[in-house]
C-alpha cells in the first residue's frame, strides 16, 4: 500500500444551499487530505455539514439547490469537481463509493440483492452477466451472507444483514475511497461493532481509504487514523487520533468529550453543550462557536480566527490558538 501518497485532497471547499429564501452556508472553506489506506473521521453534530461534504465528493448534491461555490476536490491528482456527468458516473462506484446511513432504505426493494451487486459490477467492469453474478456471490460471501440467501429480496433480510449487503455493494469494485456516512447509526449496538469490524477488515484487505462520518466518538477511536472535528461547516480541529483524543485543544472538541459519560464515575446528568447549534443560514461575524463557547471573550464576537498549527499536523481554529495560549 502506498501509504504516503495523498489520495483525496479537498482544498478550500465551500458549498452553499441556495433557496429563494436564504443561502445556507453548509460548508465553509474546508480542507483536508486522506492518504492511501488511511481512515479520516469527520466528527460533528447534526447539521454541521458532514454529509454535505460527502455528497460534494460524490457530486451528488441536490442539483437545484446545492452548489460548490469554491474549492477543489482532487482524487488521485485529478480534480473531480470539473468532470462531466458521464465521467463522474464512471468514478462513482468504481473509485469512490458510499455506504449510506440507513440500510433499510438504501437497497432497491424490488431487486434481488445479488442482482443489485451484479448491476454495479457490470456498470464498471466489462464482464459477462454470469461472471458478474459469480463475483456478486463471492463478495456477498465475504461479508458473511450465505450463497443460498444471495437471491433474496431486501425485505427478507434483517437490518444488520442489509447493512452487510450495502457494504458488499460499496466494496464490490474495490474503490480507492470509501465514504461511510454514519454506517452504524441505524443499527443496534450489538450489530454496530460487528459492522464496524467488517468494514475495517475489508477495507484493510483491499487497501481502501475511508472517510468515516459519525457523531460517535467511540466509533472514531476504534476506527480512525486522523480526525477532523467540524462545526458549522468549518473544521475547527484537525489532527491525528492521538492529537484529538489526548490533546484536544479547541473548546468545542473539549465540550464534545465532556458530553461523554464516563464508566467509572457515577454521573446523574450528562454534560450538554449549552445553547442551540448555530444556524448555517445566518452565521455570526466572528467565530461561529462563540455563542456556546465556555471560553468565549469579547474578541471572539468580531474576529474569525484562522487555523493555527499547534503541533505538527495538529490544526486548531481558535483565538486562543492564535494567541499561543494553548
Amino acid at each position: 500500500m502506498d501509504n504516503n501518497e495523498v489520495l483525496l485532497k479537498v482544498s478550500n471547499l465551500v458549498v452553499h444551499y441556495e433557496t429563494h429564501k436564504a443561502v445556507v452556508e453548509a460548508v465553509n472553506n474546508v480542507s483536508f487530505e486522506i492518504r492511501g489506506g488511511e481512515t479520516l473521521g469527520l466528527v460533528g453534530e447534526t447539521g454541521a455539514g458532514k454529509t454535505t461534504i460527502a455528497l460534494a465528493i460524490m457530486s451528488l448534491l441536490p442539483k437545484n439547490t446545492g452548489r460548490i461555490v469554491q474549492g477543489s476536490i482532487e482524487l488521485g491528482g485529478r480534480d473531480i469537481t470539473s468532470l462531466s456527468a458521464r465521467e463522474m458516473r464512471a468514478v462513482r462506484g468504481r473509485d469512490v463509493s458510499m455506504i449510506f446511513q440507513d440500510p433499510m432504505s438504501a437497497l432497491n426493494p424490488v431487486m434481488r440483492v445479488d442482482a443489485q451487486i451484479a448491476e454495479l459490477i457490470r456498470l464498471h467492469r466489462h464482464v459477462s452477466r454470469l461472471d458478474a453474478a459469480r463475483q456478486a456471490q463471492e463478495i456477498l460471501k465475504k461479508v458473511g451472507i450465505q450463497p443460498e440467501r444471495a437471491g433474496e429480496y431486501p425485505h427478507q433480510f434483517s437490518g444488520g444483514m442489509k447493512q452487510r449487503v450495502v457494504i458488499a455493494m460499496a466494496l464490490a469494485c474495490s474503490p480507492k475511497l470509501l465514504i461511510a456516512d454514519e454506517p452504524t447509526t441505524a443499527l443496534d449496538v450489538t450489530i454496530q461493532a460487528q459492522v464496524l469490524d467488517l468494514i475495517r477488515e475489508l477495507k484493510d484487505a483491499s487497501g481502501t481509504s475511508m472517510l468515516l462520518i459519525t457523531h460517535d466518538l467511540g466509533v472514531v477511536a476504534e476506527t480512525c487514523d486522523r480526525v477532523a472535528v467540524i462545526y458549522a461547516g468549518e473544521i475547527v480541529e484537525y489532527g491525528t487520533l492521538e492529537d484529538i483524543f489526548d490533546h484536544a485543544s479547541h473548546p468545542y472538541t473539549k465540550c464534545l468529550f465532556a458530553t461523554i459519560p464516563s464508566l467509572d464515575k457515577d454521573v446523574e446528568r450528562l454534560q450538554p453543550i449549552t445553547g442551540p447549534a448555530v444556524n448555517s443560514a445566518d452565521l455570526p461575524e466572528g467565530c461561529s462557536f462563540c455563542g456556546r463557547c465556555p471560553q468565549a471573550r469579547e474578541i471572539c464576537m468580531t474576529h474569525d480566527p484562522s487555523q493555527v498549527e499547534v503541533a505538527p499536523g495538529h490544526l486548531v481554529k481558535c483565538v486562543l490558538a492564535e494567541e499561543g495560549l494553548l
Binding site: L60, P109, M111, E119, L120
Partner: protein
C-alpha cells in the same frame, strides 16, 4: 430425534432452495397463479384472445352473412345468441367483434403507456420547467372530458380503426402521464435511488431499472383499466357512428344497430349480448390487472 414436523420443515427448506433458481418472471407467474381471481380473469382474456385470433373456428357463420328468412330468432341451439334484424348470427358477430374491440383497447393502451410513461417520467425526474410545461398541457387536455375529446378527434380525422386508436390514445395519455408522474415522484427521492446514483447508474438506468419497477403497481392497474376504458370508449364512438363503420362487427357498433329494438322486450338478445361482452371483457381485465400488480411486488410474497 426425528418427528413428522421436522420432516415437513426439511421439505419446506428443500423447496425453498429450489425456487432460488427460478427467474424473476417465473416468480411473478407463480405468484399470479396463486391468485384465483387473477387466474379467472386471465382465462377469460385468453378465451377472448382465441376469439380474436381464430374467429372462423368459433363462429358458425360469417360476420356479414345475411339470411332474410331467419331474422329475429331467439337464442337456440343453432344460434346461441339469436339473430339480428338482417338475419345475421349474433354469436358469430360477437366473436368477430372481439378482434376489433381487443386490438383497439390493447393498442391504444400500449400507445398511451409508451407516450404517457415517457412524458410522466420526464416530468417527474426533471422537475422544474419541463414538469410544469408537460403537466399544464396535460391539464388542458384533461379539462375536456375524455370521451368528448375522443369524439372531436374522431370527427376531425374521420372514421376507421386507425383513427379510432389515435383518438383513444390521445384521450388516455394525459391522465396516464399524471399517474406515472405521481408514481415516480413517490419513489424518486427514496434513498435507494440516491444509492443507485452513487454506484454510477445513468439517468436512463435510474428511471428504467430503479424507479419504474418500484412505481409499477399504480401503473399496471392504470394500464389494465385503460384497456377497459379504451374498449368502452371505442364502443361509445362506434355507438354514435364515429368509430368503425358497419358492417364491421364492433361491439359498440352492434349496440348502435340494436338501439332501435331496445324497447321491444322480446328482442332483448340483440342488445344484451354485445353489452354483456363489453362488461365481461372489462371485468376480466380489471381482475387480471389487480392480480398482476400484486404479483409484481416481491414484498407481497405470501
Amino acid at each position: 430425534m426425528h418427528t413428522e414436523a421436522m420432516e415437513r420443515l426439511n421439505k419446506k427448506k428443500k423447496n425453498k432452495s429450489q425456487d432460488k433458481a427460478v427467474g424473476v418472471w417465473a416468480e411473478v407467474a407463480y405468484r399470479l397463479s396463486r391468485n384465483r381471481a387473477a387466474v379467472f380473469g386471465l382465462v377469460i382474456i385468453l378465451i377472448l384472445v382465441l376469439f380474436a385470433l381464430f374467429p372462423q373456428a368459433f363462429a358458425g357463420y360469417g360476420y356479414d352473412d345475411q339470411d332474410y328468412s331467419r331474422i329475429f330468432i331467439a337464442p337456440c341451439a343453432e344460434h346461441p345468441m339469436g339473430t339480428d334484424d338482417l338475419g345475421r348470427d349474433i354469436f358469430s358477430r360477437v366473436v368477430y367483434g372481439t378482434r376489433i374491440s381487443l386490438s383497439v383497447g390493447l393498442i391504444s393502451m400500449l400507445c398511451s403507456l409508451l407516450l404517457g410513461g415517457l412524458l410522466g417520467s420526464l416530468s417527474a425526474v426533471n422537475g422544474g420547467v419541463s414538469d410544469n410545461v408537460i403537466m399544464r398541457i396535460c391539464d388542458v387536455f384533461m379539462s375536456i372530458p375524455g370521451t368528448l375529446l375522443a369524439i372531436s378527434i374522431c370527427a376531425a380525422l374521420g372514421t376507421g380503426m386507425t383513427n379510432l386508436i389515435i383518438a383513444i390514445t390521445i384521450a388516455l395519455v394525459p391522465s396516464f402521464s399524471r399517474t406515472v408522474r405521481a408514481a415516480i415522484l413517490t419513489v424518486k427521492d427514496q434513498e435507494y435511488i440516491e444509492a443507485a446514483r452513487a454506484i454510477g447508474a445513468s439517468k436512463a438506468r435510474l428511471i428504467l431499472r430503479h424507479m419504474f419497477p418500484n412505481a409499477l403497481g399504480p401503473i399496471i392497474v392504470r394500464a389494465t383499466l385503460d384497456v377497459a376504458g379504451g374498449i368502452t370508449t371505442a364502443a361509445a364512438l362506434s355507438f354514435i357512428g364515429l368509430g368503425v363503420a358497419p358492417p364491421t362487427p364492433e361491439w359498440g357498433c352492434m349496440l348502435t344497430q340494436a338501439k332501435q329494438y331496445i324497447t321491444s322486450l322480446d328482442k332483448w338478445y340483440i342488445v344484451v349480448f354485445p353489452g354483456v361482452m363489453i362488461m365481461i371483457t372489462v371485468f376480466a381485465l380489471n381482475l387480471f390487472g389487480d392480480g398482476l400488480r400484486d404479483a409484481f411486488d416481491p414484498r407481497s410474497k405470501n
